[in-house]
């Protein structure tokens, strides 16, 4: 028994058993069918702290720690500069070991923070309301699809082919149960942008909505205004990397209906893509159809301000099979990280991150475009990520770069599995890429056979 976590001494166990009136702990398990009982789990022996640390360190050392690399990999997860103070705050037990704020009076720390988070997401996306987090950008997009289906009661849904390929796959999985037909809308092979004609043609009577990236997976800034013009009758959802909204017009300004996104770039670490933060915002009129937890302001018995969970009647614990979603636990702690990140960076900082990423990406793209063996794959405007076309094999490029402690770019084919992307690589640049790294990357790229 790992005594450091389980306090019971043998004496106490005896005392407790006798208080219960049981002879042994085993007696408490009597109702379990004897023929199915397990005698001994085939697991490791319990380890001391030192041995756990040792094992973990061993595992970690068989990974290429990107702290020591220049990173040009993106595709939904980005390496940004993270203020050090965040980690020190979020590790506080009161944030880490509390659960969903069911008892508001002893959860004001969480609740006020969520309220602040919701406000920030509303501000950044330009929408009326936001929830207090979703699992990730992909599931948030899938929930937007379901919400569109629920609002419109129509079972055809359009998704831009240029969306993150993993998001598309998640949407398809989520669509199977309710039997929603997912159809993709092509992108122009030239600009990399949504083919508006194709979009128009595919909108049918039973189309509930359309989901697009802004920016899209190729890094291209879609023309939301034009898209909105041709999607007036259906619900338009925009999936974004919210960092870009430090400089790009807010989706709300285009009157989109739902905004989802992946907010890992707001102070989240890479963690192999395992520290994600889905955001979800919509118009006031759709608020009651929104999935996830929402926090509202109120007052207490003394008239002092306080915060509680609101609109719970949408949720599974009350509405059960009629709930807007089955989501229960969300990604609250990652929302805390984002809230602190946005508090530290603030108005100026978010803009600076966006502008630096933008400028550095454009600087690199220009240099690459001038090289003989490389071209920009698309002509559409891009933000901090762009697609290049090479004469050589993207995997070769990637592998050669690793030798130089450079991680990326991403061979596009590996994620899209589309033959047409065989020679395409996706290059991501953020403020975390130093100018000298960028120059080095460019010169290495140029030097490759």
């Amino acid at each position: 028994m790992p005594k450091r976590y389980i306090p019971h001494t043998d004496g106490e166990i005896k005392e407790m058993l006798s208080s219960i009136g049981a002879k042994s702990i085993e007696e408490l398990f009597q109702e379990l069918p004897a023929e199915k009982r397990v005698s001994q789990l085939n697991l490791n022996k319990g380890l001391s702290e030192t041995d756990v640390l040792r094992k973990m360190k061993e595992w970690s050392q068989r990974n290429a720690d990107l702290e020591d690399y220049s990173v040009f990999l993106g595709g939904g997860i980005y390496k940004h500069l993270i203020p050090q103070s965040i980690q020190h705050i979020v590790e506080r037990g009161e944030f880490l070991t509390a659960y969903t704020p069911y008892q508001a009076e002893v959860s004001q720390g969480s609740l006020q923070m969520f309220y602040e988070f919701q406000t920030m997401i509303c501000e950044i996306t330009g929408m009326d309301v936001a929830n207090s987090s979703m699992y990730d950008g992909g599931t948030a997009a899938a929930e937007a699809m379901l919400m569109s289906f629920n609002i419109k009661k129509k079972d055809h849904y359009l998704v831009a082919e240029s969306i993150h390929p993993e998001y598309l796959k998640i949407i398809q999985t989520y669509a199977k149960g309710p039997e929603i037909e997912i159809e993709t809308v092509q992108y122009s092979k030239e600009t990399g942008m949504i083919d508006l004609e194709d979009l128009k043609n595919k909108i049918k009577d039973n189309t509930a909505g359309f989901l697009m990236g802004y920016t899209n997976f190729f890094g291209i800034i879609e023309d939301v205004k034009k898209v909105r013009e041709v999607t007036k009758e259906i619900l338009l959802t925009v999936s974004c990397n919210p960092v870009t909204l430090g400089v790009l017009k807010a989706p709300g300004d285009y009157d989109v209906d739902i905004v989802t996104g992946e907010a890992q770039p707001f102070g989240g670490s890479l963690y192999l893509g395992g520290m994600t933060l889905g955001i979800f915002a919509t118009k006031k009129k759709f608020m009651r159809k929104m999935p996830g937890r929402v926090i509202g302001k109120t007052t207490d018995l003394d008239g002092n301000p306080g915060y509680v969970m609101v609109l719970q009647t949408r949720e599974q614990h009350i509405r059960r099979d009629k709930a807007t979603s089955n989501i229960c636990s969300n990604h609250a702690h990652n929302a805390l990280v984002a809230t602190i990140y946005l508090s530290l960076l603030g108005k100026a900082g978010l803009r600076e991150v966006a502008i630096q990423s933008l400028k550095k990406a454009h600087f690199l793209a220009e240099r690459i475009d001038r090289m003989d063996r490389y071209d920009l794959a698309f002509t559409g405007p891009f933000f901090n990520e762009f697609t290049i076309k090479s004469q050589n094999d993207p995997k070769y490029i990637r592998d050669e770069m690793i030798k130089e402690k450079v991680m990326g770019p991403l061979p596009l084919l590996e994620v899209t599995a589309k033959d047409e992307h065989e020679k395409f690589s996706l290059v991501a640049v953020t403020e975390a890429n130093r100018m000298e790294e960028i120059a080095y990357f460019a010169s290495r790229l140029e030097g490759l056979l």
């Binding site: 379990l32 990999l73 508001a104 959860s107 309220y115 395992g274 002092n304 949720e315 530290l344 405007p381």
Partner: protein, 484 residues
């Protein structure tokens, strides 16, 4: 001390920041050179303007308004609020885990893959399942994955009449919600007088339309479904699959395995049973385990081992597809792996044994104060009925709020729905006998108070950072974001 009620937006001053970026020579492009003029944002979002000390103070002070496991007892039933070991935080911060990009080649994170593989194997062993996927982000997400697997299984066999899922009336809300999300009709089976699924009723409901039965065992009353073997027999004979909601697995580890009881698919809550921190509501992990027959439908990618190399297998032709981006909540997985390494086979078993011991000990004491509707023993939790408070004009809610004044988090209240004025109490194995005894003392004190000054209790709590909050008002005058 006076509490500072200000939001972060009401702090700071124009022009303040809490960061510094490297001083670099960045090309001086104008925005219009890079993005279409009309897409340039004109008004910046109204974010805070604070410097580091303001932010640190704001959130440090906010944190102090929370109750958490690190502060005291948190017997929130169904949520398994066990102690979250600190070493798990240490290992989750190892740079070689933190700084990995999902799209770097597999050869460059073999250690991470091995960790995941280890966890898959260990979880499969604990539950008696054949394969495990670590992708789902939470319990409900695991349910969605599991039910999608069930749908794929039936569909693949052309067994397409199955459009209904049975859940007990005591089920957690996510069960019916998930079934509905997966396009199933939901039928509720009632509980019998023993608090178990009514076997007869269940059998009668079984027909060729029933795709699955979702159960948790022990159920949400903390009672072991002792007809489980017969349920599984009937179900399987009917071609119906059995789903196990692993939220209650803390009751049975090392004692009996869902797989051995005949369950076909289950989700784990790593943030409950495997001690990863709840983080105010997440992230958790709802890993899913399946029997071999469901393995062909697992979501991609799946961590596999090929001789010496670990890899992500995308080649699962009948896969349900993807359920989450990338490979699951890796930072949660690290912690769960550390927990299993620490506990080992014996420790895992002890956890369940002591969890059940604690629950029974407490049940026995609480039974003297409140009605406990079903049974005489329990597994890892039990549900008391607060109706007896009515004689003082009080409700379970009042009782719960009164607990707050004693520094204890109340049990889960008003769930499961089949118990009136329910109080669902799960002490977990990491709480000591003194803590339980102390809780009983508090319960006694509050009951005394309930008798003597019921009106006072109606307005509890008194000593928390805020007093009882007006939820009605919150839902009427919805204010879900700050505006200047």
């Amino acid at each position: 001390m006076r509490r500072d009620n200000k939001l972060i937006f009401e702090k700071g001053a124009k022009g303040r920041v809490g960061y510094t970026f490297p001083d670099e020579n960045i090309p001086n492009y104008r925005l219009e050179e890079m993005i279409p003029q009309e897409q340039i944002r004109q008004i910046s979002p109204e974010l805070p303007e604070c410097n580091e000390v303001e932010v640190v103070r704001h959130f440090t002070n906010l944190s102090k308004l929370n109750h958490s496991i690190d502060n005291g007892f948190y017997p929130l039933g169904s949520c398994t609020m066990k102690y979250n070991p600190k070493i798990n935080e240490t290992v989750a911060m190892i740079s070689g885990f933190v700084n990995l990009h999902p799209y770097q080649p597999e050869s460059t994170y073999q250690g991470a893959l091995e960790l995941m593989y280890f966890l898959q194997q260990a979880l499969a062993e604990i539950s008696g399942m054949d394969e495990v996927t670590l992708q789902p982000a939470a319990g409900a997400h695991g349910e969605l994955t599991g039910m999608s697997l069930i749908r794929a299984y039936h569909d693949d066999r052309g067994d397409i009449k199955r459009n209904t899922v049975i859940v007990p009336d005591s089920a957690h809300g996510t069960n019916p919600a998930t079934a509905a999300m997966c396009g199933y009709k939901v039928k509720q089976v009632e509980s019998d007088e023993k608090g178990r699924v009514n076997l007869q009723a269940l059998k009668e409901m079984l027909n060729e339309e029933i795709a699955a039965i979702m159960l948790t065992n022990p159920n949400t009353l903390g009672l072991f479904e002792d007809d489980i073997l017969e349920i599984q027999k009937s179900a399987h004979e009917n071609g119906t699959l059995l789903y196990y909601d692993g939220a209650n697995m803390n009751a049975i580890m090392g004692k009996i395995r869902p797989g051995d009881m005949g369950f076909d698919v289950l989700h784990y809550n790593l943030h409950k049973t495997f001690s990863t921190p709840h983080g105010m509501g997440g992230p958790g992990s709802g890993a899913v385990g399946v029997k071999a027959k469901l393995a062909p439908y697992l979501p991609v990618p799946h961590v596999k081992k090929d001789e010496e190399l670990y890899y992500l297998d995308y080649n699962i032709p009948k896969t349900i597809g993807k359920i989450k981006g990338y490979y699951g909540n890796f930072n949660v997985l690290i912690r769960a792996a550390a927990y299993i390494l620490t506990m080992g086979a014996d420790g895992i078993k002890s956890a369940s044994e002591i969890a059940v011991l604690n629950a029974n000990y407490l049940r026995n004491k609480i039974a003297k104060k409140f009605k406990i509707p079903f049974g005489t023993k329990c597994m890892h939790e039990f549900v008391a009925d607060g109706s007896s408070l009515k004689k003082y004009g009080l409700k379970t809610l009042d009782f719960a709020k009164a607990l707050l004044d004693y520094g204890v988090h109340p049990p889960t209240v008003y769930f499961p729905l089949i118990v009136h004025e329910a109080m669902m109490i799960e002490p977990t194995e990491t709480e000591s006998k003194e803590t339980l005894d102390h809780f009983v003392d508090i319960v006694e004190k509050i009951l005394e108070q309930a008798e003597k000054e019921p009106d006072k209790l109606k307005k509890a709590p008194y000593t928390t950072p805020v007093r009882r909050l007006d939820e009605l008002k919150a839902n009427k005058d919805l204010d879900v974001r700050y505006t200047k």
